[in-house]
Amino acid sequence: MPTDTSVAFVRTAEIPPSPPPASETGIVKWLRENLFSSWGNTILTLFSFWAIYVILTATVPWIVNGVWTTSSLAACREVLQGEVGACFSVLTERWNQLLYGFKYPVEEYWRPNLAFLLLFAAAAPVLFFDLPRKLLIFTALYPFIAYWLIWGGSIMIPIVALLGFVAGYFVFDRFGKQSFAQGFFGAIVAAFVVWWLGGFLIPDTEDTLLPAVPSRDLGGFMLNMMLGVTCVSLSLPLGIVLALGRQSKMPLIKGICVIFIEFIRGVPLITLLFVASVMLSYFFPPESTVDLFLRVVIMITMFSAAYIAEVIRGGLAALPKGQYEAADSLGLDYPQAMRLIILPQALKISIPGIVNVAVGLFKDTTLVSVISMFDLVGMIRGPILASTEWNGVYWELLSFAALLFFIVCYGISQYSQWLERRLATDHR
């Protein structure tokens, strides 16, 4: 080691920043690093290009040559003269059936359309919580408006239903402060009293402002949307209650929740739907008007609530015990601690899981086709494919169904990613 060099060093001139070498920037670098970085990678890249080419050459002409205006499959074949091409005419000709089912009166289509548009206004303040809170009033009224629009009949039915909830709310507000149980059961009793009394107000006439449409006349993608929206919005609160119940220190409540969750999760949804369509009529009085739609909603809601409850339980378990203790030590009571501290954090952790269940639920609404409800898939498999004109048009119809479901599910997924970014405050 030379002895004349000193370890002391002082920099006198700054080194200015300079651009990276050309081989390290731009498209060439990107290609080299991402597609052709090794022999194996190059082979995979070339294979992928080949696969994409094969798929595109098969599908693009099929779509581009598509026929949109004929009135049967035979007519399509005539137009195509043996060329490759889709027969999209089935979509245009059966458009209404695909969307609304085959029994919903055509002159009333504006009603579900309007309900669909209002759905966006009702969902907005829930999904985007930066909007003014006052808009939630419309959200609360929406189920009653939508019911009246879609099913029609006497306007007194949704009004009485609404009054029952309002009465329940006031009773809970009045007595729930002293004792939660008192307020809770008082509210249920009050609601039922109002519904029972209100039952006498509902006229028996046939000619109402909006003609009544029975549940069995609902169908098409409208039915999937109705089931999806109703069941998602009901199963989330039920799932939260079940998850909290499962954590309860009271053995009875805990036991009920555990048995409910484990039982429902252990049974295939299709079984529950058969129970809804066949068995439940044994439990309800024979002349009861609990219709198939409601029974299916109950079953799908219970099913997905059990899954959501488990997802949320995971979120609750992930919270440090210190959060509960901090809330307790500040004097917050149980409902306050849950609502303000625990659930906002637990639900945030659970968003990906909840979205998973919601997307699955939405797609599972097509299962109602096996209990002979004519949802989108039910319409395709039943009336449309069975007709002489369109017998054999599988690809076009099923791709269309897939596209509709994809649009909704992709929307849900995009929303959840936005929500996660919006709620990210932990700065890890």
């Binding site: 901090a326 004097g331 917050l332 009571d333 954090q345």
Partner: protein, 255 residues
């Protein structure tokens, strides 16, 4: 600041613990605890890890249940009645080793949450109080940030401010500085000293012996779930009586 130790201690009782026993399952964690805390007293509790210090102060605001004996806080008997528990908790502030701030709320919201929901104070007024206490702990400019954006020392000071916003009559501290880097310990201790000088009744579990000498008017040594020795700080440190105290002090002061 030796005068801190001579600060007024009234003869009004803040906390009485009578013959209190607690078990975790079959493990007898607190044994025959007797303790009277007067208003304005600043008590430091020390002892080896696992001796039951945290458990003792967590019994005072009912984060842990005790099985025998009685605890009276501010004239309210701690029983299993939920009403009493909530009253006591809103009178007793607590700071934890790991701060336990609410990560989904801003600093200001952390401080105003309990006043608004428990004390039913209007939001505006709660925010003014919160800013007052945030100024006191010297971080008013962080009010709009989230806890994750603050350093450990700042977070602990926010936690103290959050407790103070409830205008508590008693403050409990469970090792408030043990999770902090050395350079942040001082800023938290300074806040606590200031609080002590204003006459707050304080129970601190801490191993900061400098802090104990400076502000405590009583030091309690616990071992194996029992109060082994208690005395004024000077006497406690200079002239410990029990062998276990001597051993403990030699371990923490020795190096």
């Amino acid at each position: 600041m030796a005068e801190a130790a001579q600060m007024q201690v009234s003869d009004e009782v803040a906390i009485t613990i009578n013959n209190m026993n607690k078990w975790y399952g079959t493990f007898h964690v607190l044994r025959d605890i007797d303790l009277t805390v007067y208003r304005g007293e600043r008590i430091v509790i020390c002892g080896p890890s696992g001796s039951g210090k945290s458990t003792l102060i967590r019994c005072i605001n009912a984060l842990e249940e005790h099985q025998q004996g009685e605890i009276v806080v501010d004239g309210t008997l701690l029983s299993s009645d939920l009403k009493n528990i909530d009253t006591i908790r809103s009178e007793v502030g607590m700071c934890f080793q790991h701060f336990n701030l609410f990560p989904h709320l801003t600093i200001l919201e952390n401080c105003t949450l309990a006043p608004i929901w428990v004390r039913k104070i209007p939001k505006k007024e709660a925010e003014e109080t919160a800013m007052h206490f945030l100024e006191k702990v010297k971080i008013p400019d962080q009010a709009g940030k989230y806890p994750g954006q603050l350093s450990g020392g700042q977070q602990q000071r926010v936690a103290i401010a959050r407790s103070l916003c409830m205008k508590p009559r008693i403050m409990l501290f469970d090792e408030p500085t043990s999770a902090l880097d050395p350079e942040m310990i001082k800023e938290v201790l300074d806040t606590m000293i200031e609080l002590a000088e204003e006459g707050m009744t304080m129970l601190c579990v801490t191993h900061e012996m400098g802090f104990a000498r400076q502000v405590a008017n009583r030091v309690i040594f616990m071992d194996a779930g029992q109060i082994v020795e208690q005395n004024e700080p000077e006497a406690f440190f200079n002239n410990p009586q029990s062998d276990r105290t001597k051993l403990f002090l030699s371990q923490i002061l020795g190096h």
